[in-house]
Amino acid sequence: MSAPVDLSVRVGTLSLKNPVIAASGTTGFGREMADVLDLSRLGAICSKGVTLEPRRGNLPPRVAETASGMLNAVGLQNPGLDRFLEEDLPFLLGRGTAVVVNVAGNTAEDYQELCRRLDATGCDAIELNLSCPNVKEGCMAFGSTPAGVRALVRAVRPLTRKPLWVKLTPNTGSVAETARAAEAEGADAVSLVNTLLGMAVDARTRRPVLRNNTGGLSGPAIKPVALRMVHEAFQAVGIPVVGMGGIMTGEDAAEFLLCGASAVQVGTAGLVRPSAFVSVADELADFARETGCSRIADLVGALRPW
């Protein structure tokens, strides 16, 4: 219980003080969380998905509880890039933690414009959301095939020197292929998984629970799928992998690191336990100490498959 654990990790050129990143869409733009948590204790914070124009999001209900998880269909509600740059990004940049900006669009041009303008800011990385299942256009349409990923990353790569993370969808036949496509076009990292496309039904009203009919499944329910996909992506590419999906505890985070994630994101856990955004890092340090690991980075990819 004595020796301190070195929690720092690198995702490509970006150094993080610890491997726990607050996931996009489950942390707003940090303002509400700043009230109740010391954000400087996070490895990084990833913004809610930002689009060029403001978006109102989908009609409610936008959430359905499921066994060990939840479906959401927020639909990228956000104030748009202008207001984000004016009000939200400056706030995030002052929190003493790395800032990853998650961006989404309908067209390749949208993504280009977003990357061009974010390149001029102080953010630490850009995460291309090619995997939101809750909007009609763009997004997952790009992310679900290797060709779509390739085209999109090729379009934006020349426009920014920021580390470019490509967030992949699990709703695909082979995440190894979409990861390779991202790598081939110069992505600095892939992050996965976004939510699994799912549905909840109210048998009494004979209606989908979500007004959007379908939504994205997150939480512990998806952890086995996420771990498998992170491991597949890790084996498929040489660039770093950022892993997520159902992390509730430090030991969960360790599992993702072992499967090859250089860092992890925590999303849904923080909705039910606000302290999860930092306690996962604390528990990870405890876990490292208990298992005689002095550098958390040593866990990355250390899984020994049978």
């Binding site: 942390t27 509400e32 409610p60 959430v63 060990s68 509730m248 969960d252 909705l271 528990e283």
Partner: protein, 283 residues
């Protein structure tokens, strides 16, 4: 830095009517802090006894939450001296059923008090109009209004006399009460909104202001009646929630932007649950 998660100890639990469970929870900080109309996100996963884990569910077992999400429940009452808060809720599903199984001595994790509650007027009479389980947040409201020296009137509507609850509690905190039942047998036969209109037409010491909570059609009727009489009206809305703390954006409520009058989504959990009834875009 605010503390969001609190671990209270159940002081008593039981049913006050069929499917209506009450939990009294010792949680002095929350009792001191809570304003009427606020709510808590209750954790329905049983917590191990305190000998097992100090801070709540064991980290190792955190993935075993069932049901997974917390449930939003209004503060129905608070006793600042005893340091207790009261939740009353209909046992409609898995989460509320699990909560109703808590017994004295059990621990309960909740986030809160959360949300933007009712604003108490400076003077005059506060009329609280509630329907069904919508009456619950109105009890603490009337208690605090009376403590502030306001006149207090309760108009509560129930499906039937057998399904009426908290009548004595409301009598305790109100100058006047009118209990309505769809099937008759109480003070008024009909809906709470009609009872309210009836009360209004008979005159109340002004200035009158209204707070309402219940089914949307009822609140819409109350809001319309208030609008036509120039009476300020606050309405407590309900939407499905995940975080309750403003970060996930799933609890969108349609309200008219103050400036443009255009409908936009606000977060029920932080910008609400209580809104100016004239702002609400009633469906």
């Amino acid at each position: 830095m605010r503390t969001l998660e609190r671990i209270g100890t159940v002081v008593s639990s039981g049913f006050i009517a069929p499917e209506q469970a009450r939990l009294v929870v010792h949680a002095p900080d929350a009792a001191a802090e809570v304003r009427p109309g606020q709510f808590a996100m209750l954790d329905c996963t049983p917590l191990p006894a305190s000998s097992d884990a100090a801070g709540g569910i064991l980290p190792k077992d955190a993935a075993q939450r069932a049901p997974f999400l917390r449930r939003p429940i209004s503060f129905c009452d608070a006793d600042r001296v005893a340091g207790t808060v009261t939740f009353v809720f209909r046992t409609s599903g898995t989460g509320t059923r699990a909560l109703s199984r808590l017994r004295a001595g059990d621990r309960l994790s909740f986030l809160g008090p959360l949300g933007h509650g009712f604003a108490l007027p400076e003077t005059g009479t506060l009329v609280a109009v509630g329907g069904g389980i919508g009456v619950y947040p109105l009890l603490l409201l009337l208690r605090d209004a009376r403590a502030k020296g306001l006149g207090t009137v309760a108009a509560c509507g129930y499906r039937s006399p057998a399904l009426a609850f908290l009548l004595d509690d409301f009598r305790d905190v109100s100058d006047a009460t009118c209990f309505a039942s769809d099937t008759g047998g109480l003070d008024f036969a009909g809906h709470a909104a009609d009872a309210f209109a009836d009360l209004l037409s008979r005159g109340l010491p002004g200035p009158v202001s209204v707070a309402t909570c219940g089914p949307a059609p009822m609140m819409r009727a109350v809001a319309a009646r208030c609008a036509s009489s120039g009476i300020p009206c606050q309405a407590s809305l309900e939407e499905r929630m995940a975080c309750g703390t403003g970060i996930c954006l799933v609890c969108a409520c349609k309200v008219k932007a103050a400036a443009s009058g255009e409908a936009e989504y606000k977060r029920c959990c932080t910008e609400g649950p209580v809104f100016d009834a004239q702002e609400v875009a009633w469906e």
